[in-house]
């Protein structure tokens, strides 16, 4: 577990370094994710130099445990938001209507486009 956690942090750190050094508008953790994906794709070729935990399922267990509790990680920021609700007070009702309708529209349009193109490209699943 510790090696897996360390590996996630190393990928994030490298991602942050690349993001800052290159000035790309992509967040460091997203680059870290790309790096982790590259590492996984190459892991069979890297067998002699890579820690055993990348290959024996430990990395999967640690990551899936974190992702299963992804909701928890938004709680501290959410609590901060509750304290700032006065910011939306002036236009509260209008903003709530805009957020609800826009979110519903975005969900429906995205899902419909996805399904439509999937059907066009002969993918029925």
């Amino acid at each position: 577990m510790i090696v897996s956690l360390g590996l996630l942090l190393v990928c994030q750190l490298l991602g942050e370094i690349v993001a800052r050094a290159s000035g790309l508008p992509i967040p460091g953790p997203v680059l870290g994710m790309a790096l982790m994906l590259a590492l996984l794709l190459a892991r069979d070729h890297l067998a002699p130099v890579i820690p055993a935990e990348v290959r024996d399922g430990a990395l999967e267990r640690t990551s899936n445990a974190i992702l299963a509790n992804l909701s928890l990680l938004f709680v501290p920021a959410g609590v901060g938001v509750v304290q700032k609700l006065d910011l939306v007070a002036a236009h509260g009702a209008a903003l709530l209507v805009a957020l609800v309708v826009s979110t519903v529209l975005a969900l429906l349009v995205t899902v419909a486009t996805f399904r439509l193109i999937a059907r066009w490209t002969g993918d029925a699943s």
């Binding site: 967040p27 901060g80 509750v82």
Partner: protein
């Protein structure tokens, strides 16, 4: 024997108390969510947040003090983002086959999320600077705040609108997909991540691992596209 007040003075100054409160509130909210079969209204983020907010209000604790404890949980958002690579790798063939549907859904979905929010709020009389803060509401908080700030919006207001969008998306996505009869977990997850970023993604992982994988992709792609779309669309919408 120490007075209770002295114990409180100690506790209120250590990160231990608020870290523990954060995790316990989440466990209560998550257990309840599991008990009611992951009903969308029993969203664990929503219910953990108001419980903690209430405790902070009753004890008169400032957010800054709370965050000293809660920051350890907040910090894990970075490693969790990296961890999205693991389900992505596991489903890489399914993901590769869906590249065209994802590209089209990304373009049309990201434009819809931004344009509809700004257009509706504008029609309801919301002022210009608030519209700017609202525009990136479907994107993950860090990126949304940067977009908002660049065009003169208040990043804190954006954070509030982003979190609210996440909770709304996480609550409505499942009923909406049932109502419209969409069973394709790839499309459902992708739209949840695109429209409601990490909180939508967390919801997708509750429902289905494949949905969660596609939600992570939707969230990541929209975080890349919206900063490019905003400078093109905002002048058109606000002009």
């Amino acid at each position: 024997m120490t007075e209770p007040f002295a114990v409180w003075v100690y506790l209120s100054r250590t990160p231990l108390l608020w870290l523990t409160v954060t995790i316990c509130a989440y466990v209560v909210a998550d257990r309840f969510s599991a008990r009611v079969g992951r009903h969308p209204v029993a969203n664990p983020v929503l219910h953990a947040v108001w419980m903690i907010g209430l405790i902070l209000a009753v004890t008169g604790t400032p957010y800054r003090v709370y965050f000293e404890g809660a920051q350890f949980v907040h910090f894990m958002l970075g490693p969790a983002t990296v961890a999205l690579a693991i389900p992505l790798y596991a489903h890489r063939r399914t993901v590769a086959r869906a590249i065209l549907p994802m590209t089209g859904a990304l373009l049309i979905g990201a434009v819809t999320a931004l344009v509809s929010a700004v257009a509706i709020a504008r029609a309801l009389g919301v002022p210009h600077d608030v519209l700017v803060a609202l525009a990136p509401k479907s994107v993950t908080a860090g990126v949304a705040m940067a977009v908002s700030e660049r065009f003169g919006g208040d990043p804190t207001l954006t954070a509030v609108l982003v979190m609210t969008t996440g909770v709304i998306g996480a609550i409505v996505v499942t009923p909406l997909m049932r109502l419209t009869g969409v069973a394709d977990m790839r499309a459902r997850g992708f739209s949840a991540g695109l429209s409601a970023h990490g909180i939508g993604t967390a919801r997708a992982f509750q429902v289905d691992l494949l949905a969660g994988t596609f939600a992570g992709i939707g969230m990541g792609l929209n975080a890349m596209l919206t900063p490019i779309l905003a400078p093109v669309l905002l002048p058109l919408l606000l002009g």
